[in-house]
Symmetry: C2
Subunit: 117 residues, 2 copies
DNA sequence: ATAAACAGGTTCCATTTTGGAACTTTACCA
DNA sequence: TGGTAAAGTTCCAAAATGGAACCTGTTTAT
């Protein structure tokens, strides 16, 4: 089954995932909640390639989760801001964060990790 | 940046996504919460290929989110059950579901959708 | 006894999607 | 005149995916 065919799925989880069900999209949204709004910020903070950032921002804007707004006219510059719909996604990120904090603790720095297991 | 390099990330969201940050893994977990436990059930319900199901179940078992248990000896058969760690992931799926229900309503059957917008 | 059926996978290959780096455009700065 | 910056786009090789076929051990139907 193609991923795109999920968007009319009976399951609301499946439909949600057509939009945000990939590695980088959720990291971009995380950045949004942390205050990022510029293309370069997303590229730097997520670690995804510019190619990916570009495609994901497009999808998020098309879905009405982010809004693309000019913040400078003369050197045409845009930023990406969370819409209401986007802001309401916060609980999902919070639950992912909390689960990660509890179940996936960071191991101490590589140099200090004598035994890898 | 490679996806695998995220697993030691400072951000708990990023670490969580190394495990479940892909299309099909979250659908498999959804199925688990709906009572599925067999390979064939996941394949049928998610729509993912057997190849994908196989690799995702492996990852979930390795991560301690699912447990692989024999439910029959003579024809060796296994099922996949949520561990405590896995069960605690429920809130994440619930928030994704709720967001989807609110913001991504299903359009009525294709034949009835006169105007697409 | 033979054949088909079933669960749970694995293998193969063509198509897509990525990762990574370079390049483009428009404008400001020195 | 040259350099920097933001926001993308383009290109290509490598990796992941979709789809279908195949494999293995056991049971059931003929």
């Amino acid at each position: 089954m193609k991923w795109s065919e999920l968007d009319e799925n009976w399951c609301p989880v499946a439909r949600t995932l057509t939009l945000v069900g990939d590695r980088w999209t959720l990291l971009i949204l995380r950045d949004c909640f942390l205050g990022c709004s510029k293309f370069e910020e997303f590229a730097a903070n997520t670690g995804a390639t510019r190619h990916i950032i570009s495609s994901r921002l497009k999808r998020l804007v098309d879905a009405g989760i982010l809004e693309r707004k000019a913040y400078s006219q003369r050197p045409k510059r845009h930023e990406y801001l969370l819409t209401e719909k986007g802001k309401e996604f916060a609980p999902a990120l919070i639950t992912l964060r909390d689960w990660g904090k509890k179940h996936l603790p960071v191991r101490r720095s590589a140099t200090a990790s004598a035994a890898k297991e």
